[in-house]
């Protein structure tokens, strides 16, 4: 059944909670691990748990986690057989995936070709369109005049998007011809500066939409399945704060169309490993619009694990090494409901400004139906160099209301000291009537932010 060598040594090219998640998945598979860290991350939990730790470079990611030569050299020199890139950093870089292959390392992710197609949001959109997957009205324009003509056809407001952006980066919302004319050239210049490619395109902006996404998983034997959808509408400046599975607001027919659309994309790309196909769901029109595909493990993957019982990182590692998937589509069952809250070192009263520092008290809640993924411990110096995620608290229960109550109770019992966190904001969100009835859309948190932090002036 298996062609993989008996011994695997996985280089973990990431940090924080996801590095720990990967190290633990490898431990359970009997794989050795080598963790590459920056000099600021020698004391994380992942560094304590990994089989071996090598310091890649200085605190700034550019010389450590983003340095392809340092990561490759370290992985080869420590005798690794595979590289797990986690999320962010090098996870979506086709050049990195190619270099791994060239040095005999299995890249735990999709093919470089799939990464190239998906990294170009315009190409990904065209692929979706060609497969009959619904996309927002819009398209590519090379001049302002063309863009204005296109905007007139789809109707304002429209989003100007960078082809090589994604995850909310490189987007501009415009509501009139004048704004479009003003924003067009700078948007292209910014895209060029930020992503090395000035290509931008237009899409109709869906005002009242939920963010829904489908978890896909493929192997090297032509098996491709979906593991249901997640909803991540609670966002602040495109940053997700609360995620859940499944999405309670979807009519059954729409849900089927959603899953089918995601699988078409997976099939077209001969997709290997984990991916997330993101959509906006227009509540009023009951309409789905393809957004993008994230070709990697996602921060919010635990909610899918909670309702399906499938260990996604294990499947991802084994699929990359050539094993067939351990689950068939007809075996995937969604049981109950799971909600995740991202606890971050960010100050809600300072518009979620990062608030690094020493974690003086850290007592995560424990209890039935709870899961907590985190690399933080009491006494940990939360560094200022990286993203603000401290941990992900996931509550599962038989239905959505019970899961929300369980998560709220768990957050209430979470003792954190020394660092200002998003914990209380997360509680206000989960207790809010709009969240409880499931009417939250992607701009809800921006609109209600002042109310949620108890500040009448906002």
């Amino acid at each position: 059944m298996t062609t993989r060598p008996a011994r695997q040594r996985v280089f973990v090219a990431n940090r924080g909670e996801i590095a720990l998640r990967v190290v633990e998945a490898c431990d359970r598979l009997g794989f050795e691990t080598v963790l590459g860290v920056s000099s600021a991350d020698r004391d994380t939990l992942a560094a304590r748990r990994a089989g071996r730790v090598v310091v890649l470079g200085g605190p700034h990611a550019i010389g450590s986690y983003l340095s392809i030569p340092a990561v490759l050299h370290a992985a080869v020199a420590t005798g690794c057989t595979a590289v797990h890139p986690g999320y962010g950093f090098l996870a979506e870089r086709p050049d990195f995936a190619r270099e791994c292959a060239a040095h005999g390392l299995t890249f735990v992710g999709p093919s470089p070709e799939a990464l190239t197609t998906l990294g170009d949001k315009l190409k990904a959109r065209e692929l979706a369109e060609s497969l009959g997957v619904p996309v927002s009205a819009g398209g590519y324009a090379s001049t302002v005049a063309e863009a204005a003509g296109l905007a007139a056809r789809v109707g304002y407001p429209v989003l100007i998007k960078a082809a090589h952006g994604g995850g909310g980066r490189g987007m501009k919302l415009v509501t009139s011809d004048a704004e479009l004319a003003e924003a067009w050239a700078p948007a292209s210049a910014e895209a060029e500066a930020a992503f090395g490619d000035g290509t931008v395109f237009l899409e109709r902006y869906v005002t009242d939409a939920k963010h829904v996404e489908v978890q896909i998983l493929g192997d090297r034997h032509g098996n491709r399945i979906h593991l249901g959808e997640r909803e991540c509408s609670v966002q602040y400046r495109y940053q997700k704060l609360v995620e859940e599975a499944p999405c309670a607001a979807l009519p059954e027919a729409t849900r089927e169309r959603l899953h089918d659309s995601a699988l078409r994309i997976a099939r077209a790309l001969d997709y290997v490993g984990l991916g997330t196909v993101e959509f906006l769901y227009d509540l009023h029109r009951d309409e789905l619009n393809f957004l993008e595909v994230n070709p990697r493990i996602q921060v919010e993957h635990p909610v899918t694990e909670a309702v399906t019982g499938v260990d996604l990182v294990r499947e991802q590692l084994l699929a990359a090494l050539g094993e067939p998937l351990s689950v068939r589509q007809e075996e995937v069952r969604i049981t109950g409901h799971a909600i995740e809250a991202r606890i971050t070192a960010q100050d809600p009263h300072q518009r979620l400004r990062p608030s690094p520092g020493t974690v003086k008290r850290w007592r995560p809640p424990v209890g039935g139906g709870l899961r907590f993924d985190s690399h933080v411990y009491e006494g940990y110096e939360f560094p200022p160099f990286y993203d603000a995620l401290m941990g992900k608290l996931v509550a599962w229960s038989h239905d959505r209301a019970a899961a929300a109550t369980r998560l709220d109770d768990a957050l209430a019992g979470f003792e954190i000291g020394g660092v200002t966190t998003s914990r209380d904001l997360l509680r206000s969100i989960i207790r809010h009537g709009d969240f409880r009835i499931g009417s939250v859309t992607t701009h809800w948190l921006n609109d209600r932010f002042g109310e949620l932090i108890g500040d009448g002036n906002e």
């Binding site: 920056s38 020698r42 304590r48 090598v54 340092a70 050299h73 370290a74 020199a77 005798g79």
Partner: protein, 150 residues
């Protein structure tokens, strides 16, 4: 403790070719210490990076003394393979006892075929060499100690 004899044989073969004085190897509860000059080496002290709690197959060759107060430790500016000479077979850039100026090249750290020369940065005399030729050095690993000239 299951220990792979093939692995041990491979290590011994590597050691035979390597220029070293002390070698210690730890895996789980197994620990092998090899010394060429008859002394049992001390654990690396202050100047070396903290060893991971549970070391997987790894090797570390270091000078057996910590730097003195008048010594400056030159550390690796990036992760890579440490080379003491410009090319295989050529004499090393520096030996213990050599006088160096700030721009004197001490070694090369090779990262994916890119050779990065490491200058001394200070004036003084090379007193210790911490890394072995051909060894993987991490960012911040101690490479040399130099007794500075006031």
């Amino acid at each position: 403790m299951d220990f792979d004899l093939e692995e041990l044989a491979a290590i011994i073969e590597l050691l035979d070719k390597a220029d070293f004085r002390h070698f210690s190897f730890e895996k789980g509860d197994l620990r092998i210490t090899v010394s060429r000059d008859g002394n049992v080496p001390q654990q690396p002290r202050a100047a070396t990076p903290a060893a991971p709690a549970q070391a997987a197959p790894s090797q570390r060759v270091v000078a057996d003394q910590a730097p003195d107060d008048d010594e400056v430790v030159i550390t690796a500016p990036l992760l890579g393979t440490f080379y003491r000479s410009p090319k295989p077979g050529e004499p090393p850039y520096v030996e213990i006892g050599d006088k160096v100026a700030p721009d004197t090249v001490l070694c090369i750290v090779e990262v994916m075929k890119l050779m990065n020369s490491v200058p001394a940065g200070v004036s003084g005399e090379v007193t210790k060499i911490f890394a072995a030729d051909g060894e993987l050095v991490e960012y911040g690993s101690p490479l040399f100690a130099i007794r500075t000239i006031a």
